[in-house]
């Protein structure tokens, strides 16, 4: 069924977009990641303008992060105070991100910038995941998520000013650290249309030292707000949020994630991580190739309003 997207101003096959988002939802159900980093490139590949792909993807992430964080919230695995500090940083970050986005669009480098940032992020994360998996095979950690984080926090982080107490996480740390992590999440949400979980979660564990039990819930809690801020900013400043496309993505994502969660039982932690790392690396390599192989059409056009 062809559906006309009023903001993207094009018709797409609803089934194709549905299957695509269900596939990404499936991956997020199995691996517990947002998957925005896969949906955005796929949408661009289907001919959706990059700004619309990014703005709409941010909207879809609001739905998936709300769904994800509610469960953590009920189990009490969210450090609300920490979350709010991150949200403040995230809100500033998403505003800054919008201006970066507008600037890149104005000088005609938004497509390149999106590809380039995806290559750096996906390449880095994919490689780290592979390395970590190889390391953990020899070390064999226990899989229980503990209430305490045993990571050594660097003295530089501990020396930062504006220290705050976070009773739930049992931390006494500068507000700049969670604020800064939230800020990066906000910029990523605005510029790339992703929640940035794959960057925020490691940062929260290794830089902030938050207990592993609280990581996922607190990260998702702040993703709700940064992606909501990014959605509103994109809709307001760029008019690039397509709610019709967004609803198809949300529906596909929800159904895909459900199937994914029931699939997850059949995946071992190691296997899942290696598989996801390989998928991430594959998307990264595809983007590198697209950037370096001579395009068949050197010219592109943008119709201004």
């Amino acid at each position: 069924m062809q559906v006309y997207l009023p903001i993207a101003e094009m018709a797409v096959s609803a089934e194709t977009v549905f299957v695509l988002s269900a596939f990404v939802g499936l991956l997020s159900g199995i691996f517990g990641v947002g998957g925005g980093f896969l949906t955005t490139p796929f949408l661009i590949f289907f001919g959706v303008a990059p700004p619309v792909a990014v703005g709409t993807q941010a909207c879809q992430l609001v739905a998936s992060s709300v769904a994800g964080s509610l469960g953590h919230f009920r189990r009490g695995n969210v450090d609300l105070k920490m979350g709010f500090v991150m949200v403040i940083g995230g809100a500033i970050g998403s505003v800054v991100g919008i201006f970066i986005f507008k600037l890149l669009r104005h000088i005609g480098q938004i497509d390149f910038a999106i590809s380039f940032m995806y290559i750096i992020l996906l390449g880095g994360i994919g490689a780290l995941m592979l390395v970590e998996t190889v390391m953990s095979v020899s070390k064999k950690k226990d899989g229980v998520r503990r209430e305490f984080n045993e990571t050594k926090i660097s003295p530089f982080i501990l020396s930062l000013p504006y220290k705050m107490r976070f009773p739930r996480s049992k931390l006494y740390v500068s507000a700049l650290v969670p604020g800064g992590i939230g800020f990066i999440g906000g910029v990523l949400a605005s510029v790339l249309g992703i929640g940035g979980g794959f960057l925020i979660v490691p940062a929260m564990i290794y830089i902030l030292g938050i207990p592993p039990l609280l990581v996922a819930g607190t990260a998702l809690f702040q993703v709700v707000f940064t992606t909501a801020a990014a959605t509103i900013m994109h809709a307001w400043m760029n008019h690039t949020v397509d709610i019709v496309l967004g609803l198809v993505l949300i529906l596909g994502g929800v159904i895909g994630a459900q199937i994914g969660v029931s699939f997850a039982r059949y995946f071992k932690g190691q296997t899942a991580r290696v598989t996801l790392a390989i998928i991430i690396m594959a998307v990264c390599i595809k983007m590198v190739i697209d950037l370096f192989v001579a395009p068949s059409e050197l010219f592109s056009a943008e119709i201004l309003r």
Binding site: E9, V62, A67, Q109, F112, I243, A294, F299
Partner: protein
């Protein structure tokens, strides 16, 4: 629609026939089957039919032209092995959509290039000069060619002139195809009767291509009240997320 269209065409015939002046003066009339194209949520493109009548000898040109837009054309080149946009030219007043049909094969047989350009007849007439004082004509031409290719590949410009189908000696019919992603706005249909190297009769009608119903409401809401539209999108997404969480817990 399937019954309405032939009826409208028939009525067009009747109107044109009645309106045809008995005098010897040359004339040209036409009528569009639908003077409002509605883009709904299920819109997949449409064919716009026009029917006309000429009185007197001459060649006929019909043009369908969408609202003018500024368009930036960018050219990629290699920087450290990566291909990125390095050069750009901006063109003003590029029709967002353009299609034309002629009763002859070659536009240059109608009249001189200058006149063709003045009347926007033919693809060559759409070669606008770029903004700014650009001297390098080779460079300008490569960007103009690229703009044509871009428009043609998006079905917004034709690859070649359409044909005018003569139903009798003087009654004719023209079909223009509008793709699914046709830009909305006020369109102009122009008909020319050309004889002896100049335009003898020119007739113009307007046509509205508009988003209707759900699509149009969303479009207008998002462009006029972007902030609140964004807020509504977020609320819908939150609701969808909450709903899916509830459904998951039930199972």
């Amino acid at each position: 629609m399937s019954i309405v269209k032939p009826f409208l065409i028939f009525m067009g015939f009747v109107l044109i026939f009645l309106a045809s002046p008995p005098a010897l003066a040359k004339s040209l009339q036409f009528d569009i089957a639908d003077d409002y194209v509605e883009i709904t949520t299920g819109f997949t493109g449409t064919t716009l039919s026009m029917i006309g009548h000429r009185h007197g000898a001459g060649d006929i040109v019909m043009i369908l032209e969408g609202p003018a837009r500024s368009t930036v054309v960018r050219r990629k080149s290699q920087v450290l092995g990566a291909w990125l946009n390095r050069d750009s030219l901006r063109f003003e007043n590029v029709p967002s959509y353009y299609d034309f049909a002629m009763s002859v094969d070659d536009a240059s047989s109608l009249m001189g290039d200058k006149k063709l350009k003045d009347h926007h007849i033919g693809l060559e007439a759409l070669r606008h000069s770029p903004e700014g004082d650009e001297q390098d004509s080779e460079r300008v031409k490569s960007f103009q060619d690229a703009l044509l290719r871009y428009k043609q590949s998006h079905e917004l410009f034709p690859k070649k002139a359409g044909t005018i189908e003569f139903l009798s000696d003087d009654f004719f019919r023209v079909d223009f195809h509008l793709p699914a992603h046709v830009p909305a706005g006020d369109y102009i249909v122009r008909a020319f009767l050309i004889s002896g190297g100049k335009v003898v009769v020119e007739d113009t009608q307007s046509l509205r291509v508009g988003l209707t119903g759900f699509s149009s409401q969303i479009y207008e809401f998002s462009h006029e009240r972007g902030f609140f539209y964004g807020l509504v999108c977020v609320l819908i997404a939150c609701f969808a997320g909450w709903l899916s969480n509830v459904i998951v817990r039930r199972n």
